[in-house]
Structure formats: C-alpha cells, structure tokens
Amino acid sequence: MSLVLADVGVRYGGVAALQDVSLIVERGHVLGLIGPNGAGKTTLVNATTGLAPLASGTIALDGIRIDGLPPHRIARSGIARTYQNIRLFAALDVHANLAAGAYARPGRLTADEIATLLERAGISGADPGTRAGSLPYGDQRRLEIARALAAQPVVLMLDEPAAGMNPAETTRLVETIRAIAASGIAVLLIEHDMTLVRAACDSVVVLNFGEVIARGTPAEVARDPVVVEAYLGSGAEALA
C-alpha cells in the first residue's frame, strides 16, 4: 500500500501545470522526482497536499482517495512535507516546532520522543529551547524534516531539502533519508542535486512541462536521451 497518483492533471488558468501524471510511492522506498525548473515538481507536491485542486485524475493513500480533501485532513491522513523555501515556525523554539508536527497526534511529545526525532533528522545536538529561526541554515532544513517526522507520517515529501547545503552536508542527508525510508515511510524526494538523487533514490520519475517523460533507476534515467535533452538541450552528453 502506498501513495498512488493516477493521471493527475492540474491547471492554472489556461495552462496545464501537470498532465496525465501517474506515479506510486511505496513504503520503505525513496522515489526521486526530478526535472528542469518549472516542470511541475512543486505543483505535484502541492496537489498531493491539497493546496492545488485537481483538474483530472485521482490521488489515493493506502487505497483511500485524498484528492479533494482540505489540506489539514490530508495532513492528518498521514502525509507530511518539507518546503522548498523552509517554512519553519521561525519565532518559536525547536521544541514548539516538533510539537507542531505532532499536533494531530494525541498527547504530547515526551523528552525521549523529542530526542529521537532530532536524531533521526540528524540534529541530535540541537537545543530544544533554541529559536528555530536562529539555527544554522542546514539545521533548519533538518528541523523541518524532524517536524514532518513528528507527525508519524505514512508519506514524507521532501522539497529540495539539500538546497544550500555543501557536499559534506549533502552526503549526511543521504544517510538521513535512507534511514527514514528504512523505517517504513514512503519518501518522495524532489531534488536538483543529481549526486543526492543517485545516492538516495531507489527509482526516479522525470517531469518536463508537467508531463512524465521518463522513469527508472537513477542510472537509467541519467542516460536517457530524452531526459538529457530536457535538461541540457539536444546533442548533450549523459547527465552528470
């Protein structure tokens, strides 16, 4: 069971931002979503979380349709995400951000749970009393991941979590993401950083102009001439 998008279409005004997009994110797997800027990757995440209405198609989680539900209900059904531009509750502290993530769950977070969340997100050294907006940039991204994990989600969607990170931090992020998948969560990873995609993803879907143009393992997709052309124009060599 998993997150299933079937023939999803989204329109903004007269423009098709997404068209006939189908993909499946399985528990325990990391699916990479790549494509040039404007291809519709964030739109897909927005559509899945209920922020953009579907013009066509369906989205189902473990067999139950979630498209058409209000965003907060979709969140409560087990879908958590991080944001391209970081949307932490910056003025609140680390603890509060984690409590926010766990809002929909009964009870409150224990100290142990907090420690576990921080560790799984790779910021076990963070002081829960620190103002979230004061954390170093990389830690803020990881705090967003921790907040998402606090919801005990079925599906975790990461929107460019490595943006702004250096290679060392990115390598660490790979381990974090693989461990999250290993814990049974279905992970959708939007990324531009091909090193991260190769290392972290089990399979990849490539979008261009709102349509799926290729699927496969990271290696297969990187060699696919259609994909290369989409990124670099025709006649280019294989993708990094």
Partner: protein, 282 residues
Amino acid sequence: MSYLLDFYAKHSRLIDQIGINAILALSLSVSLQAGQLALAQAAFMGIAAYVSAILAVQAHWPLLATMLVAMLASTAVAALLALPVRRLRGVFLAIATIGFGEIVRVFANNLSITGGAEGLSSIPNDATTPVIYASLALVALALVGLSRTKFALAVALVREDEHAARGVGIDVGTVRILSLALGGAIAGLAGALYAHASFFITPTDFGFQRMEQILVWCVVGGVTSPLGAVLGATGLSILPEAIRFLADYREVFNGIILLAVILFAPGGLASFWRRGAVRVNV
C-alpha cells in the same frame, strides 16, 4: 487603611474603567494572538452593552442574567461575522471589521429600541468594582487555562504561519472562527459591565475611536502578549489622569507619550520580559 478607602473613593471611577479596559484589551489580544487583525471588539462591546442595558431597564432583569444574555449575543454575532470574513487577512480583515463596526453604530443610532443617537440612560449602576474585577479575574483564569491546551498551540501556529499550520493538520478556518468568537464573548462581558457601570450609553461609546484605543493598548503592551495587553490598558488608562496637571497640554502629551513608547519599544512592553523564542505551551 483609611488612606486606601480615601484613595478608592477619589478614584473609583478610574479603577472601574481600568478593570473594564483590561477585559477589552484581552478580548482583542485573543484575536491578535491568532494573527487576526479583527477590529470589531468595540462593536461586540456595544452590542452586549445595549442588550444588557435594554434587558435591565425594560425587563428589569438582574445583572448576572443580563450579562449572560449579552455575552451570548456578542459571541453569536462574532461567530457569524467570522464566516464572511474567513478568507480575509491582514489589513483587509481590519477594514472589513471596521466597516462592520460602523454598520453596528448606524443601527444603534437609528433604532428606537436603542434610543437612537441619545442612547439609553437610567441603567442600574450595579457593576461595582468587585464585580468588575471578579469578571477580569475570571477571564484571566479562563485564558490561562486555555493557554495550557493544544488549542493555544494551534492559535500560535496559525499566527506564525498559516500555511505550515495546515500542513501539520490544523483546521485553520475553525481556529479563526473560535478565536473570533472568544474575543466576542470577552468583549461582550466588558460591554455589559460598561453599561452597568455608566449611567448612560450612546452609539459613539462603541465606535472607531474606542476601537482605536483598544488597539493602541494591545500594541503598546506587545501584540501577542495578553499580560502586555492588560498592562498597556492599565498604563494608558492611568496616563490621562496622571498628566491631568498639564491641563490643556494633556492631549498633546498623550500623543507624544504614545509615540515615544512605540518608537522606543516597537515590540511593546512585552519586549522587556521576552527574550529569544516566543514561548508557547507545548
């Protein structure tokens, strides 16, 4: 002891006013904590004041009964208002609610049951100082209790980032309606007390000038701080009396002091005791 009694006798009106103003400030603070610049508190206050006064004067109801019905009325109106304004944010919400306040004022000005522009008089003066401060204490207690619940966390999250709040499963629409209704209830309490503490009430008592005043108290206190709101209301209620000796220069000093305070401490009084992250109950 006799000094205290003398002091009270001389300043009882001011002391009563401070109590009512503190309750008003708390009613707006509730909305501001949810990030809603809903400026209809004065209107809610007015609705409750009139309901309470009419029931007391025409139907001779006892104070407590009129207060309860008045609060019910203001809460209901607040909840109803929350529906059409649910998509409005920021300054749009502010202006819509100011407009609502004006509509209420015009109704009060033109209906015979509210006494028109002359208002209502001969309202029984039974909102004594103990009653007012007991009410304030009750409101404060209720808010403190509420602050320990998950609802309080939801309110803070909606204020900080509505979008992300939805993403963690919070029903933002419901939170906004509830906070507006709560503000309406508290403002209604203040309105009923105001009616029973004044000999008469007129529509201008509950217009934009009053609303501006309440907003000033809250922002001077610290926009998201209920304690700040109470301190702001207290300080700024005492101020005109304290500078009474300035006679004709009172008003200009009022403005200068307001300006000076807000320029010196834009975060309000609360910035003096707040450090680091904004505290929320977790």
